[in-house]
């Protein structure tokens, strides 16, 4: 039983890491209706720039600020060069453009920072601590705390600030938002910068767990089943979906993996999410679509 709980808790905490990536997707999808395939690349790029600023001698906080600056610049460029020319195109074209963006970001990242794996040490050891008789990784707890405060901050931002409210208006209806004078392009810039910031945090946590390397892009794809579980438009959904996926994945690997062969982590979340979708087509917290002819 203790083993089961340990696996479950480890899975839940790993799920928090997926949620962090999924959050970035949700932010962009909410505000601009763009399915941002490049989120994984952004996570990698943010982590890469932080590690390199740090390696070039910048102290931790300065490196963090500089990396954030890089993400803001990226957001501005994306808005100006990709989103604005593609406004009013079908969502499919925008999705394709973000795949193109993924290729560009990966290329730029490798060109500037090289393609070797960088070590990243946040100073938190990945050692288990005893808690109610169950061993829990200290690092995972830290990641969960970060994710929790991030979500809290985001919820406050969306509910209490003018910009946050404007973003919610944009998410609800682009045209209605524009008609009451909300500058759409500026909101896009904000939200891309914001999700760049989320990507930075996710990148730091993932990077210190796995090393900052190009495999991070693939890890970030795991955020997709999290998204469909939680619904594309819900911040709470991203967190809950991440928890479910993380726990289910670890439990399946431990208990099912022996039966049908290991390595099922790669596809199990997707199949789980798919089966789930057949029951609830809009995810746990997604908005119900009403279709009219």
């Amino acid at each position: 039983m203790t083993f089961f709980i340990e696996v479950l808790v480890a899975g839940l905490l790993a799920g928090v890491m997926y949620s962090l990536v999924a959050l970035g997707f949700v932010l962009i999808y909410k505000a601009s209706g763009v399915f941002n395939f490049a989120q994984g690349a952004m996570v990698l790029f943010a982590a890469l720039s932080f590690v390199n600023f740090h390696a070039w001698g910048a102290p931790f906080w300065l490196a963090l600020v500089l990396a954030m600056g890089v993400m803001v610049v990226l957001a501005l460029l994306v808005e100006r060069l990709v989103l604005r020319p593609l406004a009013n195109q079908p969502a499919m074209s925008l999705f394709m453009a973000t795949i193109g963006l993924t290729i560009v970001i990966e290329g730029v990242g490798q060109l500037i920072f090289g393609s070797k794996t960088h070590r990243l040490d946040l100073g938190i050891k990945d050692v288990p601590i005893e808690m109610l008789g169950v061993g829990i990784s200290k690092f995972d707890l830290f990641a969960a705390a970060v994710a929790g405060s991030l979500v809290l901050a985001l919820v406050l931002f969306f509910n209490r600030t003018a910009t946050g409210r404007a973003l919610r208006a944009v998410a609800d209806d682009h045209q209605a938002a524009m008609s009451i004078g909300i500058p759409l392009t500026r909101m896009w810039r904000y939200v891309w910068a914001l999700s760049g910031g989320v990507a930075l945090i996710a990148g730091l946590l993932w990077g210190s767990r796995l090393g900052v390397q190009f495999g991070l892009v693939v890890v970030a794809l795991k955020a997709l089943p999290v998204l469909i579980l939680g619904g594309f438009t819900s911040i709470a959904g991203a967190i809950v979906g991440g928890l479910i996926i993380g726990a289910a994945e670890k439990l399946a690997e431990v208990y099912l993996g022996g039966v049908i062969g290991g390595g099922i982590e790669n596809w199990f979340p997707y199949v789980l999410a798919m089966l789930f979708l057949i029951a609830r087509p809009n995810g746990l917290f997604g908005e119900r679509r009403i279709e009219r002819v």
Partner: protein
């Protein structure tokens, strides 16, 4: 003036229903066939067949498959490479385990296997659509990759997980030279492309387009949308499966499941989008563009840089240019390359009058 339908009267149903009802199209198609079946084999060399034409044709076939699903029926898929893998490995097993099965029949059976798997995953489209479907098909991609490496039976317990495709022998003729393999691939692709063109202008194609444009409206006018979507999944996976079988047997010879990874799916999706969604011809244009792009950039890269710059730098710059070009093409011509072709035809129709 050059491209006018005027005064081309149809006097029989047959004439009215042919695939290319306009004389100029017919002539153009025959000329193209003459070039690819006669002129290219005479002029081409082994490098052209092996390095360019065979992979181009096979990827164009896979793109066509995706285009039927995404372009015509509006269901986005990121699993095309997985279905190629199913086709390749199923065809390999049919040849291996069924004695005396003609090789083309095993290709078809392999593609049918892909179609069945496609329908299984397509069942997800019962309830979900749009971007949710992308994730579902992404799941099929990862699942197939995993299954191909996991179950030794599929690769005949080869230790490295790699299969070596058998020789292609049809009616006593061995297709071993690049030229012969080119002609085989070309034959299959031509037949399947014509079939697709025919299918897409008929009842099925039109139902597909209705579902793509608005599925609720399609349901209201009496189209069984779920069946249409599933058939679209089946046909699309069949095309991809056939492309996979050809990839294994007529192109690379030895395949490992890695060849059918997510990268390939994305590449095929790019080909479909750049070429133009919802167009048979666009599949070929897109495939040609994406195939030629790295080669041209390689040439430019090596001439510009000479030996002075590190090769990895050139590779990364190429990657960046590739991504930028894709975004740029989406911005300037969202309809894809085939739109340029249509604009050209319109110009030819009006010439010498300006538009």
């Amino acid at each position: 003036m050059f491209y006018r339908e005027a005064s081309q009267y149809k006097t029989s149903y047959g004439a009215d229903q042919q695939i290319f009802p306009i004389l100029q199209d017919r002539m153009g198609f025959l000329a193209l066939m003459a070039i690819v079946f006669v002129v290219v084999p005479i002029l081409g060399n082994d490098y052209w067949f092996n390095g360019l034409l065979i992979p181009f044709l096979i990827l164009a076939l896979a793109t066509l498959g995706l285009n039927i699903l995404t372009g015509f029926a509006g269901q986005i898929s990121l699993g095309s490479a997985g279905f190629m893998g199913v086709g390749a490995f199923a065809a390999y097993n049919f040849v291996l385990r069924v004695d005396g099965l003609p090789i083309l029949a095993s290709f078809v059976l392999g593609a049918l296997c892909a179609a069945v798997i496609g329908v299984l995953f397509g069942l997800a489209c019962l309830r979900i659509k749009d971007f949710y479907l992308i994730v579902a098909t992404l799941g099929s991609q990862f699942f197939i990759e995993w299954a191909l490496t996991k179950f030794g039976w599929l690769t005949n317990y080869s230790s490295s997980g790699v299969i070596t495709a058998q020789k292609i022998v049809i009616l006593g003729v061995t297709f071993d030279t690049p030229l012969r393999r080119y002609l085989l691939v070309l034959g299959v692709v031509t037949v399947m492309a014509l079939a697709a063109k025919n299918m897409m202008r008929g009842a099925f194609g039109r139902s597909c387009m209705a579902v793509r444009d608005m599925d609720v409206a399609a349901a209201v006018i009496g189209i069984r949308i779920f069946r249409v979507k599933l058939v679209a999944f089946a046909v699309s996976s069949f095309y991809c499966g056939m492309a996979g079988a050809l990839w294994a047997f007529a192109y690379v010879g030895t395949v490992d499941p890695e060849a059918f990874g997510l990268e390939r799916s994305l590449q095929i999706l790019f080909m479909a989008i750049i070429g133009g969604l919802g167009s048979v011809m666009g599949s070929f244009l897109g495939a040609a563009f994406i195939m030629l792009l790295p080669i041209v950039m390689n040439l430019i890269g090596s001439t510009v840089s000479g030996q002075a710059i590190d090769t990895s730098v050139v590779a990364h710059v190429e990657q960046i240019v590739y991504g930028v070009l894709i975004i740029w093409l989406l911005v300037v011509e969202p309809g894809g390359l085939v739109r340029l072709w249509q604009v050209g035809k319109e110009k030819l129709r009006l010439w010498p009058f300006p538009r």
